[in-house]
């Protein structure tokens, strides 16, 4: 008997996937498929686009129209796909490096345009694929192979960055909080306009080892203990929030979607 999700939404012959034991990416990939299943999207009308990185290998496993592009450029390619054929449900999968380092510009512009693309960031706070260099989301003082003395960069809060750029939907979740993740990804896909879910992943192989984060289970436990939902947090006394990170929906508002706006221009100009 086969895993029902795999059977329905993945390219079974490509499994087992290349990710390391305990890599959080597989958890997030599954969640995306469940959301697609839940919404009931036509597989032929779903397009998954990624850049380059461990996370960006996900589309290769997913049984949709899949596009593995160049490092950082997924959203730029996806913009072309979506604008050329707005009928497609376009989902971008991107690592923290892919999305916020080399690809940062495309992120903020896709968010600004409010184009109907859903971006799922597999944020493991490191460049996994290239072997553990610090990324724009590596916390200050943590180590990477290129930050042997501790990182002096301040990390992005990718969710806040997207909001600053004009995103109309932005949420954060973790590889531990799967039921919440399922829901947020589902909401993001249903959202009209640009939506982003930053899913905190784990990279036991590089980030974990380099920063002595213990076992895979220790890393998952850290996620479990460190994140609280914004809505819950609102009601908590300050001392309970200390050292915690917030997750959940940070913004969710309605604004005109890009390709629809374009269609209006066509409607007004087409002879």
């Amino acid at each position: 008997m086969n895993h029902p999700l795999v059977e329905g939404f993945f390219r079974m012959d490509k499994f087992p996937h290349i990710w390391c034991p305990g890599c959080g990416h597989g958890i997030i990939m599954a969640s995306i498929a469940r959301a697609i299943e839940k919404i009931g999207l036509d597989k032929d009308k779903v397009c998954i686009v990624s850049g380059i990185g461990c996370s960006s290998r996900a589309p290769g496993y997913m049984d949709f129209n899949t596009l593995h592009t160049t490092h950082g450029r997924a959203l730029a390619f996806a913009t072309g796909v979506k604008l050329a054929n707005p009928e497609l449900e376009v989902i971008v999968i991107a690592g923290d490096g892919d999305l916020s380092a080399i690809g940062g510009n495309h992120l903020i512009h896709a968010a600004r345009r409010n184009i109907g693309i859903t971006t799922i960031c597999f944020n493991n706070n490191i460049y996994g694929m290239t072997g553990g260099q610090y990324s724009p989301t590596t916390p200050t003082k943590e180590k990477g192979t290129t930050a042997p003395y501790g990182n002096i960069d301040k990390p992005f809060d990718i969710t806040q960055l997207a909001i600053g750029a004009g995103a109309t939907y932005a949420a954060k979740t973790t590889a531990y909080h799967v039921p919440q993740m399922d829901k947020l990804i589902e909401t993001a896909i249903r959202h009209k306009g640009f939506s982003m879910v930053e899913a905190i992943s784990i990279c036991p192989t590089y980030y974990g080892r380099k920063n002595k984060k213990g076992s895979v289970v220790d890393m998952m436990t850290f996620l479990k203990d460190s994140f609280i939902d914004v809505k819950v947090a609102e009601k908590l006394p300050p001392e309970k929030k200390e050292g915690k990170f917030l997750m959940g929906e940070f913004i969710n508002k309605a604004e005109p979607e890009y390709t629809e706006q374009y269609d209006q221009i066509i409607a007004s100009q087409k002879k």
Binding site: W19, C54, R57
Partner: protein, 181 residues
Amino acid sequence: MSKQLELRLSGSGGQGLITAGIILAEAALKDDKNAIQTQSYGPEARGGASKAEVIISEDSIDFPKVTLPNMTLALTQIASDKYIKDISVDGTVIVDESITLPETLKAKHIYRVPIIKTAINEVGKEIVANIVALGLIVGLTGIVTEGSLEAAIMARIPKGTEDLNRLALQKGYELAKTLQK
């Protein structure tokens, strides 16, 4: 042994075989030989098999890659399946005893040796299986002097693990002796 040893070490990512290759090469340098070490990198390494190759020679080495090794060692089944086939007819194959070899495999010597078990049971840490393997290889080939090998090991390992590694090396030499008789 021929003047030039072309060795391929393979196993899984975490088994330290690249380090083993470097150590062996550095030992060769101490013996005033030439050595080149190469390895396979990259996404294949995720989960899959990793490979380190060493050429040791009295002469200068032009072509740096091993094409047909005269000695191969594999510590995992996946690595063995992928890399063990290529071996010169007068070469030596060494695999961990847990590994099943294809019946078609042809080589001068084929050894299945309890390398990992030795590391776990007799040294006490699976992680030093690579050093056990080094002892075994050098015990069999004499390609580097024991003094150089120990010095090279000591230069590469974390402080505080000297005795552990020395013991592992010893056990490797002992394994070699059991094969040579």
